[in-house]
Subunit: 397 residues, 2 copies
């Protein structure tokens, strides 16, 4: 008799947590588990703003998948998913024959949400993956390195526009605040020539955060030279910068968009019902009308008790993965699945190396306390996927 | 009575050595010495190929001038020299009033010699100064960082063409041989995708070097993946690469030209007689027909006993500077100047971190012996300009 086939797509928080959970709970020969991922490594998405700014070695945010899996329990396939076919229960890959599945866990992450802003996809950078953030870091450095090499000083080389003042936007700006003085020293550039502008269409930065914390963050960043443009949508992004609503033009060689994500387009292409690309999953994290098609992470849509969607976060994806692996094991063993319920453990946003804001254990925190709590959070993730040895390796980094 | 004014232009090997010598030998109120330099720092030109490749922190090759001078002995002016006027004994500067001189030491270095190759000045990089080499390093990294970010893999991003296989060309290629595996690891690029092509018009690499040593160098570099195109002039450099004589086209995002230097154009503009921009100085290092106009370093032209010009080197400039400072002091004190004679102490070319070739103390050397000798040479220079403290600071770097 053939073993039931579980295929997990994506080694992000959701997919990896599901896989690690299955690996732990399943006995020998209970199921055939396959994890498919584009890269041979997992990356810690919540840390990407740091290598993007150049304040952290990208290798800190990277974990080789092979080191996390037991070969006898999970098969790892490094390939690109080109199509999901729920009708035939098949996953099409760029580099090999399709994979068959009995249970599918879709955790392939998000795509940037551009809100139709002209020129954004073509001209802006996105904090999305390791390759991308390494390029952002190199791009910024390259612009700075050019400044002193021409007679006419092109100030736009030193102007960085960050679109979006949500979580990623603010955290990225916080890192740049630390990074810019280093770059100025490295390339002999006067600090006052550098501009860092954070543009946000909403009426506040960090929407959803406590007002006092928002104020703390804005004040900290403004004191460190950040210019905010709040309630100001970007109308267009060009190769030379951005045009804001109201007509202000900012000449800039570096525009980084952090203004939001939508679900992975493969879901719509598979005929799954979505809203902004995200799938409103049922209490068992299943796509509507499917018994064997689970969605975790950024492409899943879950509502809170007030009927408002939870923002897609690492915390959400991690809890989904943990929960789903137990449910899958229960199902394989003829038991019944338990409904998923998100439990917020708080939220922390970093403001560079030494500061952060947020709520943890039900308490508001700022400054270095919040910053240390944030670091502990990273380590917790490494512990969850790779145990103590990975945690210590990263903590010593 | 006004003190005699000595103005030294340029804080390269020649100018700095002259200044440091004057500072040491002159008594209080014997002369007014002014050193003019574009940057507040001296850079070690013979090390520039390393930060250009990214194998050395550019700060190693940089020494703040203020730390080398005694304010009561030498006045330092940070400015750009725009014109030399020997008729009125004036130096015109970009940012302030002209400086008067009684004795001028011209040590403003070289300009690239392009041999009329089309598109070279516009599209190639030059290993010339600290700003420039920092940009070369960043450019190479930026190209590598882009490779994995597009669907179609653009191999030209990973192709580096080095024009010229003289001293600088070979040393730069040697550093790249060390650097490329690091870049491949850092940006997840297969080593075999990277091409490093060294193009030389002359029938050999390192013209003037011992044949056995040339063979050693070429073999070492070829074993490390360098492709040579010897006896092959570059016909044209475009934004997309180079076209070689014979028609071969090499698509490349990075072309670095090391094929030679000519004298500083300010000399020709001042009406001084030059050959390829260089001034055939007399035995006292004076420009022809001038009693008070000395030229040291890359813009000076000196012939050996067989009537062939010495190549412009740091060693030559250093000896000129040492000799000239003594001559100037003698002249100020009513004594007579001594004729300059270059004494070669040997030549060493590095082949990356762990290897080198060359001749020192009359002996041929290769490998790590030559490499260590080369390092001692660096330290000797730091000792000469900044004493033991600078030498130890750099040695510990």
């Amino acid at each position: 008799m053939a073993l039931p086939k579980i295929v997990v797509l994506g080694a992000g928080y959701g997919g990896l947590m599901t896989t690690v959970g299955l690996q732990k709970e399943l006995n020998h020969q209970e199921a055939e588990v396959t994890l498919v991922n584009l890269n041979p490594y997992h990356y810690v998405t919540t840390k990407l703003h740091e290598p993007a700014a150049g304040t952290l070695d990208p290798d800190y945010a990277r974990v080789e998948i092979a080191g996390l899996l037991k070969q006898e329990k999970v098969r790892f396939v490094q390939d690109e998913v080109t199509r999901v076919d729920p009708e035939n229960k098949e996953i099409h890959l760029a580099g090999r024959e399709p994979l068959k599945y009995d249970y599918l866990v879709f955790g392939l992450g998000s795509a940037p949400e551009t809100f139709g802003i002209k020129g954004l996809l073509e001209n802006a950078f996105f904090i999305r993956n390791l390759n991308g953030v390494r390029q952002i870091r190199e791009h910024i450095e390259y612009m700075f390195s050019q400044y002193n090499n021409s007679e006419e000083k092109r100030d736009e080389l030193l102007t960085i526009v960050v679109g979006g003042a949500g979580f990623t936007g603010i955290e990225f700006v916080g890192e740049l605040v630390d990074r810019i003085p280093e770059l100025c020293r490295q390339f002999d550039i006067p600090r006052e020539k550098v501009r860092l502008v954070n543009v946000e269409a909403a009426p506040t930065v960090l929407p959803g955060f406590d007002e006092e914390l928002v104020k703390y963050a804005m004040q900290y960043l403004e004191e460190h030279g950040v210019e905010f443009r709040i309630s100001t949508p970007i109308e267009e992004c060009t190769p030379n910068g951005v045009v804001l609503k109201g007509g202000e033009k900012i000449d800039s060689a570096t525009v980084v968009w952090t203004g939001g994500v939508r679900g992975n387009p493969l879901l719509e292409e598979a005929g799954i019902e979505t809203a902004r690309g995200r799938v409103k999953v049922d209490e068992y994290l299943r796509a509507p009308g499917h018994e064997d098609f689970f969605v975790v992470g950024d492409s899943s849509l879950i509502f809170n008790d007030e009927g408002r969607p939870f923002p897609p976060t690492a915390q959400m994806a991690t809890q989904q993965g943990q929960h789903l692996s137990s449910n899958l094991v229960a199902q394989l063993r003829g038991g019944s699945m338990k409904p998923f319920k998100f439990e917020s453990k708080g939220t922390l946003a970093s403001l560079g190396r030494g500061s952060a804001i947020g709520v943890a254990f039900g308490k508001k925190m700022t400054g270095s306390t919040a910053s240390i709590m944030k670091r502990l959070n990273d380590w917790r993730w490494f512990y969850m996927i790779g145990g103590l040895s990975l945690m210590f390796k990263k903590a010593k980094f």
